[in-house]
C-alpha cells in the first residue's frame, strides 16, 4: 500500500535561481558552441549575435551566481548543511546511492535517500553540486570574464589567452555533459515528471511504501 505526503522542498527563490541558471547555462552552451564551431552550428543567426548573447548571458549568470553564493553563505547560512557531504555520506552514503543508480534502481528497489528541506540532496548530488557551484561555475565565469575583458595582466599570470580559452571550453563541456545527466536524473522520481514538477511548484510528493 502506498501513502504519500507533500513536502515544500524548494522555496520560490531557489526555484527562480534554478531556472535562471538552467536557461543561462543552456544559452551559454549553445552560443558557445556556435562561437567555437561557426562552420557547423548557427542557431543564433549571425556570429555577432551569438557573441553578444553569450557575453550578455555570461554577465547575467555571473551576477546571478554571486547572488546565490552570498545568499547561501551569509543570509540562509545553509551552504555547508545542504551541499557539503557529511562523514556518513562519504563512508556509506555515496556507495549506497551509487548502488541504487547502478543496480537497485533496475531491480525496483526504493531510493535510499528521502529529501527533506534540511537534507534535500542525496550524497552524490551533494558532491556533484558542491563541485559545480563552488568550483566549476566560478572557473567558467572567471575565465569567461577574462576573455571578455582580455586583460593581459591577468593573462600572464594564467599563462596566456590559449590556456584561459582551453580551461573555459573544457569546463563548459563539463556543463553540457552535466545538463544531459541532470535532465535525465530529473526524470527518475517516483513518476517521470515528479522532480520536474517539484522544481516548478516547490512541492514534492513523497511516496511512502508500506
Amino acid at each position: 500500500m502506498e501513502k504519500s505526503k507533500m513536502i515544500y522542498l524548494n522555496p520560490t527563490t531557489v526555484r527562480i535561481w534554478h531556472w535562471i541558471h538552467a536557461i543561462g547555462i543552456t544559452t551559454l552552451c549553445i552560443t558557445g558552441a556556435q562561437i567555437r564551431f561557426p562552420e557547423y552550428i548557427n542557431l543564433f543567426g549571425s556570429y555577432r549575435t551569438a557573441v553578444l548573447v553569450h557575453d550578455f548571458t555570461g554577465i547575467f549568470v555571473c551576477l546571478d551566481w554571486l547572488l546565490w553564493f552570498l545568499y547561501y553563505v551569509f543570509i540562509d547560512k545553509s551552504l555547508i548543511k545542504l551541499y557539503v557531504p557529511t562523514l556518513n555520506d562519504l563512508k556509506t552514503g555515496v556507495i549506497r546511492q551509487m548502488l541504487f543508480y547502478g543496480f537497485n534502481y533496475f531491480r525496483g528497489k526504493p531510493n535510499p535517500h528521502h529529501s527533506t528541506p534540511d537534507n534535500k540532496f542525496n550524497p552524490m548530488q551533494k558532491g556533484a553540486y558542491l563541485m559545480i557551484m563552488t568550483t566549476l561555475v566560478p572557473i567558467v565565469l572567471v575565465s569567461g570574464l577574462l576573455l571578455l575583458l582580455i586583460t593581459q595582466k591577468w593573462m600572464i599570470i594564467l599563462g596566456g589567452v590559449k590556456i584561459v580559452v582551453g580551461i573555459h571550453f573544457l569546463v563548459a563541456c563539463c556543463f553540457a555533459a552535466f545538463l544531459f545527466v541532470h535532465m535525465y536524473l530529473a526524470t527518475l522520481g517516483h513518476t517521470f515528471w515528479a522532480h520536474i514538477i517539484t522544481m516548478i511548484t516547490g512541492w514534492e510528493e513523497e511516496v511512502e511504501e508500506h
Binding site: 549571425s46 555577432r48 531491480r107 593581459q152 590559449k162 590556456i163 582551453g166 573544457l170 563541456c173 563539463c174
Partner: protein, 391 residues
C-alpha cells in the same frame, strides 16, 4: 707707411672679392638664359628629344631656377656641337638626406630621382600614373579603379624615399598610414572588441581584396607585465633584442638552430623561457600579398568571414624580426603553430578559427560521456521497467 700699405692690400682684396662675386652671379644668370634660349623653345625639339625642352615659365618658379642650370649641369664651350652629353650632378649634392633614405630602400638601383620628379617644374612630382605606374603599372591600374584613388595619391600612403616591401613593413606601420586620414573610422558602431581588432588586424586585411591570410607575430616589449591590450603595442627594436641575444643575431632569439624556419618547439621554448619574460609575441592578421583594390566590403562586416574561416585557413604564420634599418625580416613558422593549444602562440587566439582539434575532441568526448551515461541508464531503465512495476 706700413699701415697705409696694409690698408691698400685690404682694399684691393675686397675689390677682388666683390668683382668675383658679381661675376659668379652674373655668369649664373647668363648661363640659365643662354640655356633657355635653345631649351626653352619647343620648336627646337622633335618627338624623340622632347624631354630636353624646358618650360621657362614653369622653371622660373622653381627653387632650382635660383641655383641656375649650371648648378646641376655642366657643358663645354662648344655645346651642343661637341657631341658630349651634359653631365648631371647628383641630387644628393643638395638633398643628401633624402638620397640617403632612397639608397636604403627598394628603389635604390631601380629608380632615378627624375623618374618621379621633374626638377624643372614647380612641385615637380610627376603624376603617379606616370611615375609609379612606370614600374608598378598593375598596382596603379588596380588602384585607379578603387574609390580610394579619388581621395589619395600613391605618395599619400607610400613614402617613395623609404621604400619597403609588404612583408618588410610591420602591420602597425601599415595601419598608421591609414589612421593618418581615417582616425575616426566608425568600426566601434558594429565591431565587437573594436580596439583589440584594430591592434590584431591590418586594415588592408579587410579593406582590400588581398589574398592569402597570414598571421605575423611581432615581438613586443612587456617589461615584466604585459600591457593592457587596450593600450599601445610597444614593439621591441633591433637594439632591444640585441641586448638579449648579443651578437648572435636577433633571429636566434626564437630560431635557435638558425635554419631559417621556426618550429612549434622553438616557439614554446621562447614563450616559456624566463630569460625572455620581458618580451612576447603579438600576433597580427595580415595578408600574404598586398592588393591595391581598396574599398569597403560588406562581407567583412560578417564576423564569420574570419571567425568561421576554419583552422585550415590559419596555417601560414611568420615571426617578424626587426632589422637595424627599421625594416622587418620575416621567418616562416611551422604550419599550424597558431592552432597549438598552449604555449606556441599563447597569446594569439582567433575565436573559432584557431581552435585546437585535440581540445575540441576532448570536449566533445566529455559531452558524449554525459549524454552516453544518460542514454545507457535510460536503456537499462526501459529494459527493467517490469521490476519497478512489481514493487
Amino acid at each position: 707707411m706700413v699701415l697705409k700699405a696694409k690698408f691698400l692690400i685690404i682694399c684691393i682684396f675686397g675689390l677682388m672679392v666683390l668683382v668675383a662675386g658679381t661675376g659668379i652671379s652674373s655668369s649664373s644668370a647668363m648661363e640659365t638664359d643662354d640655356c633657355l634660349e635653345c631649351h626653352g623653345d619647343s620648336s627646337n625639339f622633335d618627338e624623340g628629344s622632347k624631354r630636353l625642352y624646358i618650360d621657362a615659365t614653369q622653371f622660373a618658379g622653381t627653387k632650382h631656377a635660383e641655383d641656375g642650370c649650371g648648378s646641376c649641369h655642366s657643358v663645354t664651350d662648344d655645346h651642343p656641337d661637341d657631341g658630349l652629353k651634359p653631365s648631371n650632378e647628383s641630387c644628393d649634392m643638395c638633398h643628401e638626406d633624402t638620397v640617403d633614405e632612397l639608397s636604403k630602400g627598394l628603389h635604390a638601383g631601380n629608380a632615378e630621382c627624375t623618374d618621379c620628379h621633374n626638377p624643372h617644374a614647380i612641385r615637380g612630382l610627376k603624376p603617379s600614373s606616370e611615375s609609379c605606374g612606370m614600374c608598378h603599372d598593375e598596382a596603379v591600374e588596380e588602384y585607379l579603379k578603387s574609390p580610394h584613388a579619388e581621395k589619395a595619391d600613391c605618395a599619400d600612403c607610400h613614402s617613395p624615399h623609404i621604400v619597403k616591401s609588404h612583408l618588410e613593413t610591420s602591420g602597425f606601420e601599415k595601419n598608421k598610414q591609414c589612421i593618418n586620414c581615417h582616425e575616426n573610422a566608425g568600426h566601434s558602431e558594429w565591431l565587437l572588441r573594436n580596439k583589440l581588432h584594430m591592434q590584431a588586424t591590418t586594415c588592408i586585411s579587410c579593406h582590400t581584396d588581398s589574398k592569402g591570410i597570414v598571421i605575423t607575430m611581432y615581438i613586443e616589449k612587456r617589461d615584466g607585465v604585459r600591457p593592457n591590450k587596450e593600450g599601445e603595442i610597444d614593439l621591441a627594436t633591433y637594439q632591444d633584442l640585441t641586448q638579449l641575444v648579443g651578437d648572435k643575431g636577433v633571429q636566434s632569439l626564437i630560431d635557435t638552430n638558425g635554419d631559417g624556419s621556426i618550429t612549434v618547439a622553438e616557439l614554446k621554448k621562447f614563450n616559456m623561457d624566463p630569460k625572455y619574460k620581458n618580451v612576447g609575441l603579438w600576433g597580427m592578421l595580415s595578408t600574404k600579398t598586398a592588393s591595391h583594390g581598396y574599398g569597403i566590403f560588406e562581407n567583412r562586416r560578417d564576423c564569420s568571414f574570419c571567425h568561421a574561416a576554419g583552422p585550415k585557413a590559419m596555417q601560414t604564420c611568420y615571426v617578424a624580426f626587426p632589422n637595424q634599418d627599421g625594416t622587418y625580416s620575416t621567418v616562416p613558422v611551422e604550419e599550424g603553430a597558431v592552432l597549438d593549444p598552449l604555449f606556441a602562440t599563447s597569446d594569439f587566439y582567433m575565436v573559432g578559427s584557431t581552435r585546437n582539434d585535440i581540445l575540441s575532441i576532448l570536449g566533445l568526448l566529455i559531452i558524449a560521456g554525459g549524454l552516453g551515461a544518460a542514454c545507457l541508464h535510460g536503456t537499462f531503465r526501459i529494459l527493467t521497467r517490469k521490476n519497478r512495476r512489481k514493487h
